[in-house]
Symmetry: C2
Subunit: 395 residues, 2 copies
Amino acid sequence: MWKMTSGGIAKPQGFLAAGTHAGFKKTKLDLALITCEEATVAGVFTQNAFAASPVKLTKKHIASGKIKALIVNSGNANACNGQLGDQDALRTAELVAHKLGINPDEVAVSSTGVIGVPLNMWAMAFGIEDIAVKLSKEGGRDAASAIMTTDTYPKEVTIECNLDGITYTISGIAKGSGMIHPNMATMLAFITTDWPLERDLLQTILKEIADETFNAISVDGDTSTNDMCLVLSSNELPSPSKNKIEIFKTGLKKVMSTLAKAIVLDGEGATKLLKITVKNALSIQDAKFAAKAIGHSPLVKTAFFGEDANWGRIICALGYSGCTVEPNKTDLYFEKFQVVKGGRGTGVSDLELMPILKSREIEIVVDLNLGSKEYTFQTTDFSYDYVKINGNYRS
Amino acid sequence: MWKMTSGGIAKPQGFLAAGTHAGFKKTKLDLALITCEEATVAGVFTQNAFAASPVKLTKKHIASGKIKALIVNSGNANACNGQLGDQDALRTAELVAHKLGINPDEVAVSSTGVIGVPLNMWAMAFGIEDIAVKLSKEGGRDAASAIMTTDTYPKEVTIECNLDGITYTISGIAKGSGMIHPNMATMLAFITTDWPLERDLLQTILKEIADETFNAISVDGDTSTNDMCLVLSSNELPSPSKNKIEIFKTGLKKVMSTLAKAIVLDGEGATKLLKITVKNALSIQDAKFAAKAIGHSPLVKTAFFGEDANWGRIICALGYSGCTVEPNKTDLYFEKFQVVKGGRGTGVSDLELMPILKSREIEIVVDLNLGSKEYTFQTTDFSYDYVKINGNYRS
């Protein structure tokens, strides 16, 4: 149905995009702008109590369900800057609005980077002057690059689908790396589409898919002050015939899960993707607790980095997760190999497991044999480079 | 009142101790034995759902309040070994009982090491034959060494106090390193005293002090299958006059907090001790959530390793901890320097903070300015060596 294509965030009809270097970072692209005549918008945001100024402002500005521009800077999070931060976020929206001839409350603002340093508003002002004239249908790659922080490559995905002779497109960009965690941790994702949508339906769909994609990934368990995911529809194309909404959902999920996986694989210093499934739990809550306790355990994560079949650490994490377990019913699998049966090691040899431990993606399945609920959580290992990158992020 | 002295775990009157090499580890001491004519005993244990066989057995054996021997092996946790593990733990108690001429239910058994490998019962049988003849008043250091796993040095502390012409002694040994966490994570601690005590009172005191010491430390957030802390009193000396119990509590807390701090400082690859205090919270629960979220955050821990004043990560962790906060009332201090006032950076320079960031012990204080409750949590930074040690533990 949906197939991958190229073209980036401005590919869907009605959108323009650009990226530029404004000066928040030393030399790299650090300001992105996406515009649309009038987009329907939905969003999900960080639940951190110290939500940054742009998060608070954007929540307000998308309340009407419509925006015309989205401005994103990297290099400075504009978080923990008090009233000054709130003023600077608003001023950013005003500068964009003035330049584009729209209203400030039609502008969404997003920031990512260092916390607690006031935003350089000179850089912002000149950057906005500069970026507005760069807007184009081809500006998607620059926009994707401009939102990066410790990411090692831009993350963008575009898919299209033909219905009744019309080609609909969904495209997304994201930044992730460090601090990737459920509940929208230090993650920005912006998605555009020309599939026409009502605001309320779009919000419902976004929330549902975010729970299954962005909220089910983690690199290190921290949740940031700045995360947001926005979906914009230009409504440029005619509505597909009724009952086609499931097709849109499939497409949106494809875009969001592709971005989520790219974020995890680009996790700071990650060498392996760990896909942890807990099945046959008494409740979804139990399965979530267990999968996340395993996925957040530094001992589990370092063991996989070391390619060590130390399954005892997984059992340990399961045991303290708060999930209901019956030790003598608990099974554990590394891919096709059963390493624990009824709470007891099966004696499968390290030699047999070595090809699995050496692979870049590893599937770990805990079977609780108690109920029927299941949850999957994706995360990475912890490497030397994780410590290196995060011990030196600001310098 | 109490002063530090030497002598080790067999120093209190009525105790003997020994350590030997049984063969669970390649060459190092790996079996410890502590005996007493008849000791009053109290214990706290891991809450992990996969509690190891020796934990389950020892809970049963101390239920009467009396034991005569404690056997501890390192190198093998005897966890996740199913019924065989239960049999082996019981058989260990039987072997000790037979050798010493006591009953199996008068023996406490403890194990630490790799999970999921059956215990080598030949090594255990020969080791018990060997260690029983080594028991002495001077065997404390060997016992302290024999319970180590990834610890880099044995942890023992002995204190004494003179009351009405009588010298009372409390002595403790512990093993920690990796997986140190609240709720008794991969931590063994054994404490002996000649201060006479009733079982129920001793249990109450132990529980209370464990909450303030061993349960308030963490290296990496994992909780193990094998943790236990036992306190044994030989009841050899006459009871001090009434109302002296507070003196005993002070002494026990001194021993346990000294061991707890030693465990944290010997945390796997730790270069710094982080003492995180959250004060003026609305509730103790809030203060605990906040202190632990900060103390478990890999981003906070790597930043301190990198000597980077990245206080935004502390604010981040506070924000997602679930603790009630009012951002514009939140203050943060690194030692004497205020880095955040009312949720906003104070602009204190990295240069000013450098001497603090370079020190081996760093005090971090979050003042919520909302209530009056306070909680302190001790943890370490995350270093390259943390990843190295834990990626290669079994090999």
